[in-house]
Chain length 197, copies 2
Amino acid sequence: MTHSEPALRSQILVIAQRKFIASGYHGLAMREIAEALGVSKAALYYHFKDKEELFLAVLLPYLDSMEGVLDDIAAQPGSSAEHIRRFVSHVLGQLAEERAIIRLGSQEMGQLSAASRKAFGKVYQEKFIGKLKAIVQAGMARGEFRQLDPEIVTWALLGMMYPYFYPAHTGNKALPEETIRIVTSIFLEGIAPPAAR
Amino acid sequence: MTHSEPALRSQILVIAQRKFIASGYHGLAMREIAEALGVSKAALYYHFKDKEELFLAVLLPYLDSMEGVLDDIAAQPGSSAEHIRRFVSHVLGQLAEERAIIRLGSQEMGQLSAASRKAFGKVYQEKFIGKLKAIVQAGMARGEFRQLDPEIVTWALLGMMYPYFYPAHTGNKALPEETIRIVTSIFLEGIAPPAAR
DNA sequence: ACACTTACTTACCGGTCGGTCAGTAAGCGA
DNA sequence: TCGCTTACTGACCGACCGGTAAGTAAGTGT
């Protein structure tokens, strides 16, 4: 195989993701990552120029994959309600450790340099929030959903899933399917037009 | 007046609240608070034994006041829907800087020592989540709401307000009243029983 | 008047932070 | 075999962290 990605780099990303989620940006020291991997701290700086670059290297690929998922969903036939259902099902269906990245990004955005914050905010908006909002708006245009401020509605949907972006949310006795079913149901019934009742 | 609370102590709390919300627990240095007030860092340690105690002194009074608000709401006559409406209205009606404390607590809980985390978690549960859940459950018992897992429903309600716990949520062109109206409407329609449709 | 408390300041501590730099062992194309 | 690149290590740096000890000026009760 020709010059494949060095093994250490991807190992760093795996550990960094897990630890950033658990400890936050300032709460995690570079030393901790190095020790967990049994390498020197300087090895991290060979692969990433600074802590901020490593942090973004954890966040951005997730947004890329989310963009793909949202594009897929929007392109499929079926009602907008079905699109929403698929989205919720996808996000709450994946491992808590995966989806926690969404929280990590919005939570720690303020800790980054102005340049990184702006750049990340743009990607976050374009690849995630904007795409989700488009799905919501399509449903409104079709008359499937009530005509409400799409910004607020989109954030309401995202917010309903937010508690499950915390790994510490251990009190969830309910099965994932049960959670997906209820969250989807509340949201879709909540924005259904009066005609549908 | 006999031995009133020293002025500096409450000033520390005001500044600490603002700065903890903006920077998080690890992101804010004690030095910064002292400098903002024009006093020495050691002065902070005269009023609070360590950083953690100061942090909790910011969080806990808010939970106390929230308990009072929730008890008031639950004690009033009127439908459970009206109780929910009042709760959302109260939280989203107050200043963003105030309600951001809710996020601060759940967000940074993991950074505290095991003892503080446990203690805070208990208060958080008893004075806030538990009281809110009781209101939701009362509505279900009355047949006003659908019979769903009250845990999930409560978190859905809280989650819908979560985006507004971020001061950085600057893209909110909508008026507070508009936001309150839509969030309340989606939630209440979302959990309304089929009979009501 | 004097002892004692309150509310601080100044100076300092050990530890940890993100980050750098010189060196080096291994592999590889010519 | 040589020169160059890749992928690190070990030692170290200044800055900054939370926290403390000693001192002090201004009251306050007796």
